[in-house]
Each structure stands twice: as C-alpha cells, then as structure tokens.
Amino acid sequence: MAASVVVDPGLAPPIGPYSYAVRAGRLVFLGGTPGTTAEGRMAGETLGRADLAAQTAEALACARRAVERAGGRWESLLRLNVFLEDWKRPQEFEDVYARLVPTPGPARTLVGYRLAQDSMLMEIEGIAGVDSVLDLTGVGGLAGRRMEPLAFLDGCLPLDATGKLAGQGDFERQAAVVCDRLERALAAAGMRPADVIRLRATLADVRDRPIWDAVLATRFRSAAYATAVVCSSLPLEAALVMAEVTAASGPKRPVGGAGDSGFPPALEAGGLLIVSGLLSLDADGRVLHPGDVSGQTEAVLERLETVLGMAGLGLGDVVQTQVTLADFRSYASYNAVYASRFRPPYPARSTVQAQLGGPGQQGLAIQLEAIASPGAASSATVVTAARSFFQHTTIDDGRSRCREA
C-alpha cells in the first residue's frame, strides 16, 4: 500500500503488523493508539500503578501527532472510539479527554474491552478529516460530525429524555430506544434511516444476539449497511446494548449479496468500501476451525480478499481494520497470519478482546472489520514508527503468547 510513508521516531514501536495512520483522499484513518511512549513503555510515572490519566494524555498526543503527520486536522476528528479496560476511574479519563480534545468534538463511542498488554488501560482509534468538518452537536440528543457525504454519530445508549437508562432488565425496550434515538438523530441531520452505511452494536450479553437481530430486521429495514456485533462491557450500568452509526448521503451499493444475518458483507458508499465484521463461518452459520485462531484468520482474510475483489479492490486498498479477538493469547498466531497476507506498510489497525458471535457459535476466535479506499494502494500516505517490536515468528505449538514490549 501507499505512495508515501512518513516515519515518525516519536511514535511508540508497534507490537503488531500495523501503521499508526493512513491518509486516503480527504480522510485520515487512525489505528489503535495506546498510551505507550516512544521508548515503548506505558506512560505514567507513579510507582506500582498503571496510570489512566497519563496513558490517556500520551495516547491522545500520539494520535494527534499521527493524524497531523498524515495531513489530517486534529480539529477535524470525525469519529473517535475509546476503549477502556474497566470503568473503575472513568473520570480520570474524562478530565484528560476534555483538556486535549477540542469541543465540540468528534462522534465518540466509549466501550470496555480487554486490551493487548496487561498494564494497558486504554486505547483509541478513529477517523479524521483533512479539511473542516460540520458539527452535529445537539441534534436529536445525539452529537456527531459530518463531512459530506459522511456523517458519524456518537455511540448511542438506551437513554430516556432525562438522560437516564430506559428499560432496565428489558433488552427489547432498550434496543427500541436505541433505534428511536438513532432515527431522530439522523432526521435532525437531514438524513434518512436508509442512509445508514454502517451499524456496529455492542451487547452486554451474547444471549441477546437473537433479539438484536430480530429488532434490526424490523428497524432500518430499508437500509443495506455493513454491520458488526461484539459482546463487551458498556459505559452505563445495566445498559444492555449500544449502537454506533455511520451514514452517507448519495448512492450505496451492497457488495457480495446477503451475508451473515442477511446483511451484505460490504457496502460501497461515500467513496469507501465498508466491510462488515467477517467471521469464520460456513454457509450455514457454523463455525469453521473452532478455537483455532490461525485457521480462522486465514478464513476471514480469504473472505476479505473475495469481497474486495468483487468491488475491484485488493488488500492494498484496505486503510483501516478493526479486529476483535476472543483471547489475546492468540495475538501472535493472528499477527503471523495477518502479516503473511498484508504487505507493509500495513493498514491502520486496532485489536481488542471481546466475545464474538451468538448462541450456538462457540469457538469463534476472530472478527475482522475493514474499510478500503479505492486507489489507496497507489496513493495513500502512511505514518509509521521508526522501529517495530513486531517480528515474524513461527508458531510452533499453537500455544503462542502475546509478544510484549
């Protein structure tokens, strides 16, 4: 991939095959950025404790650096996903965030995930623009950002008009409230439900997956959009579902026919190819290579190449991937397969740990979402660190460990 590579020695050496930021056209795609210093240590000088405030400050500084090196504007952040290891001290994060991210800020989604290293408390990833963007603050009770033709909305929780949780213990009610809020926000931004191009849901409990699929079958029915579902911890006590939406005005074209749960594996819209969360499933929804991350990574990358091919693109056009592993101990095996398919400079990438699939789909080890930008293979600008901790390793016993800095 890429016409030019910007090497920044101020960025932490990556621990996997990924770049920090990729610019394609008017967008900059930011990969997963933790609070690691240029020396490769976690930021924070306090003895004996991981420091969320220090890690947040470092991660936001690195992200800003990467976005700007790629030619993007920090003020034009469109979307920022924040991954927190736990909810013990959210205020420490919020205080630093408020200081370092301009307001009104990007569409923001906060999710609890397990992260790549034991002392890592947070990580961010996102998308920024290269020129000015439009704020959607206050529209329909859900903030967001717009850069024609794309619109990004905040992660949407099931809140009532007073900002309190609606439907405690009632998944269907919470799902309905989330859909209502998203529809109102889209309407306020002058868009229709059919303009949704990506809808990513986080469920608190994997057993609600069938209900969520049923709700989606009746809401946003007219839309063909890329989708992904993970099960992880939500930023509000007793919330059962959260959804994050990207929309685009203009034409959209599903790629690859009906895939998992009836949604297309990918969608061409807004000048991008948005790829749904790909899983290692056969045509009947059964898990292929259960529990085997290498086999499953091969399978999802094979599927990714097929889908890209249908849109006339290749792996070199992929600018950003978002990977969810079921177990971080398979990180090295996954990296080995991933690096055998993608060529450097790699796409921006984030990797988190969460539960995948739905009831009856035991043994899923990886889900891969991707965004490709036509022509990125020859024209993207990529920001990387000067060194990398990642090396190609042979996996001998299938019980590989995460490589740590």
Binding site: K88, D118, G169, E237, P290, R329
Partner: protein, 417 residues
C-alpha cells in the same frame, strides 16, 4: 455471626462488610486477600505497571498473618483459590507463590477475573486446617502440574479438595479444541481419576465450582455433567472467567466429603432432576426456586455445609428485578437463609461467601443490601466481577457454613475505619 473477634493491627483496615478469616469446626476460611499495605494502598514498585510479584507477596503475607492469628500456618493450607486479572501475569504470580508455600502444595485453582480494587491484579483466598497437615493426592494417570499445586488433590480427614482440573490428557495436551463436550468429558474424567486415587467416588462430591470463558457451551457442559453425577446432586456454582490456557473451555474444582449427607432441594423439580420420589436425606423447601442446572441448593456432611451459587430467583422461577442489584441481592440472601433454615442453621452460621457481580458499578449497592442480612462480625468474603449463567442476573452468592459457627467461631478483622 459471633463470638470472639480478634482485631489485627497487622492487617489493612476494613471498610466493607466482611472479615479476613473465620475459624469454625476445625477449619479456617480466609477472605480474598489483596496485595495492599496497612493504609489500604495497592503495593508495587514497577513504574507505571501493577506489580504482580509485590502484590502476591503482600497478599500471601496477609494470609500468613490471618492463619497465625487463628492458630494455624501456611503448611496447613488445604486449598487456595486465586483470582488473577490477566493470565499474562501467571508466571510472575507462581514465582512469588513458590517463595511462600513449599511442597507439598495445597490444591489450587486460578481463575481470570476482574477485581474490584483499582490496580489490584491478584486476590488469594484459602481454606486451612487448625491441626494436622493436608495430605497430597496424586495419580500417575494425570499430567504433572506445571504450577505449584497439588497434582490431584489434598485430603484432610474425610474431606478432599480437588485441584482445578483442566481439559488436558495424561500427557498434558489440550484435548477437544473448540468442543465443549469433549473438554467437559476430559475434565470430569480427570476429577474422577483424582477421586479414585483418594478412594472417593463422584457420590462423595459435595461442591463443584466450574469456570467457563463464555456461556456458549454451558448446556453441553451440563449434558456431559449428568453422565457423571446423579441425584442427590452436589451444590454447584459456575461463573464466567478466563482460564490459564488458551483454548480451554472449562475448569472444574471439587470438594468431596465422606459421611452421612443431608441435602436441601427446592420442592419444584429442577433442570435434570429426574427422580420424582422424595428422598429421606433431603429437605424440600417450597420457597426455593427449582435448580436451573444439575445441582442441589445445599449439601451438609457433618457440621460443614456447602451452598450452591444462590441467585435472585423466586419459587415460581422468576428472576426478581432483572438487572436490579438491590432486588436480586435481597432475594439471593433470602434463598441462602431458606437453605440454612432447612438444615437447622441461620445466615449467621455462614463463614465464607464468594460473590460474583456483573458490574463494578453495582458494588456499593450490593454491600448495603448484603450487610442488612448479616450481623457483624461478618463472614470472610471474596467478591469478583464475572459473568453469570442466566441473562439479567447481576449477582450470585456461594457460601460455606459451619453449624454452630454463630456461637463459637473466632473471627479476625482489621482495624475498622
């Protein structure tokens, strides 16, 4: 719970409704102990990262103090359960552990769970005897343990504590990758091997603790489980947590005890409860919910009672207050009280509880409701954050009781703040 209270100034001060250790019926049960100093601060010396070595040493130091205060010592520990936030710290934990405990090691299980204290990475609880030493049970048909644990089990008199068994064959290889049925069979075969080596059978098992990384295979686990166990079932609890090896879908710990048993069951036939005849050894309680898996509510042998992971369901099988920590905690404590009442005891005979809540943010409300059902000095307790077996369940409480502990237990606490 009563009786004599020893306040140790060598232990951190206590702010929650639990004690550090309880001695009753010849046993000592400790709370989940953390690597915190006297001021309650998590210890550690590594810049910017929690230090598993320092925390383990500090927590095991507290364990020594608790045991010494109650007249026992670390070489009398029969069973350890440890909760580790991240298995990437497992080697560091084991190394520090080896410097405190010497072979023959106690039975042990280590589960990956989220802990409530910020920056805490390890929490350790133990069961020890007051006199005598636990005997290690080994079997040539089991793989050697890579960790400092009793290979099969430890035995104290008529009680057997089985080390957490994992889906490894005799060569130490993972079997049945991605297949819960095969893994459950291997795990329970291993439990059977240990029981046999000690001269016990599955019918002597009074408590089973299962850990699963996710709930996808729970029904399959139960399906295999009933091939090994029959009514009257043991008390059982299953929580969601990480396991020590990548690819493992199940770990099972067991406690077995020989002697006449009394069992508490719901009057409502539970899942996998096939027998319609009423048994002499069982007390049937109409107000308890039917079991949702092959287990009974409580099993008593001698004066020792193991209660199942009790949950906030009523007798009609309805979860009270879905997602509501207060309502569920109250109902759970009521269910525990029903079990204890059926065996002629009270909640104040409970010496140890293990609590799983699904969300940190529910901890304060949980403590308030929990404390309303108990009188100080409180039982030893461990609370972790873990996923639970049924949807909308937010709390599960397992308990161990000793009949008479409400009168004659000796309890160690720290300075109250």
């Amino acid at each position: 719970m009563s009786r004599s209270v020893i306040v140790s100034d060598q232990l951190p001060s206590l702010t929650r409704p639990y004690s550090y250790g309880v001695k009753a019926g010849g046993w000592i049960f400790t709370a989940g102990l953390l690597g915190v100093d006297a001021a309650g601060k998590v210890v550690g010396t590594t810049p910017g990262a929690p230090d598993v070595d320092a925390q383990t040493r500090q927590a095991l130091g507290h364990l020594k103090t608790v045991l010494a205060t109650l007249g026992s010592s670390v070489d009398r520990v029969a069973k350890v359960k440890s909760y580790l936030t991240d298995f990437r710290l497992f080697d560091g934990y084991n190394e520090a552990y080896r410097s405190f405990l010497k072979p023959p090691y106690p039975a042990r299980a280590t589960v990956g769970a989220r802990l409530l204290r910020p920056n805490a990475v390890i929490e350790v609880e133990a069961i020890a005897t007051v006199s005598g030493s636990p005997r290690e049970i080994r079997s040539p048909r089991l793989a050697e343990a890579g960790s400092p644990v009793a290979q099969g089990a430890t035995q104290v008199g008529d009680v057997l504590f089985v080390t957490g068994q994992i889906p490894h064959d005799a060569k130490g290889q993972l079997v049945g990758r991605g297949d819960m049925r095969i893994q459950a069979e291997q795990v329970l075969d291993n439990v059977g091997t240990v029981l046999e080596a000690a001269g016990f059978t599955f019918r002597d098992v009074i408590k089973i603790n299962g850990t699963v990384p996710d709930w996808y295979g729970f029904n399959r686990y139960n399906e295999i489980f009933v091939k090994y166990f029959s009514e009257p079932y043991e008390a059982r609890a299953t929580i969601q947590g990480d396991l020590a090896g990548e690819g493992m879908l199940l770990e099972v710990e067991a406690v077995a005890a020989r002697g006449r048993r009394r069992v508490v069951e719901s009057a409502v036939a539970g899942v996998a409860h096939f027998s319609l005849k009423r048994r002499e050894d069982t007390v049937y309680v109409g107000e308890l919910p039917g079991a949702m898996a092959p287990h009974s509510h409580a099993v008593q042998v001698g004066d020792l009672i193991h209660l199942c992971g009790e949950i906030g369901y009523d007798a009609s099988g309805r979860l009270v207050g879905p997602g509501d920590i207060r309502a569920q905690t109250r109902k759970t404590m009521e269910n525990l009280a029903l079990c204890m009442g059926a065996l002629g005891g009270t909640l104040d005979d409970i010496v140890k509880t293990n609590v799983s809540i699904t969300d940190y943010r529910m901890f304060e409300a949980f403590n308030e409701e929990y404390a309303r059902f108990l009188s100080p000095p409180y039982p030893a307790r461990t609370t972790v954050v873990g996923g639970l077996a049924q949807e909308r369940m937010v709390v599960e409480i397992e308990a161990i009781a000793v009949l008479g502990a409400s009168r004659d237990a000796v309890v160690v606490t720290g300075p109250q703040r």
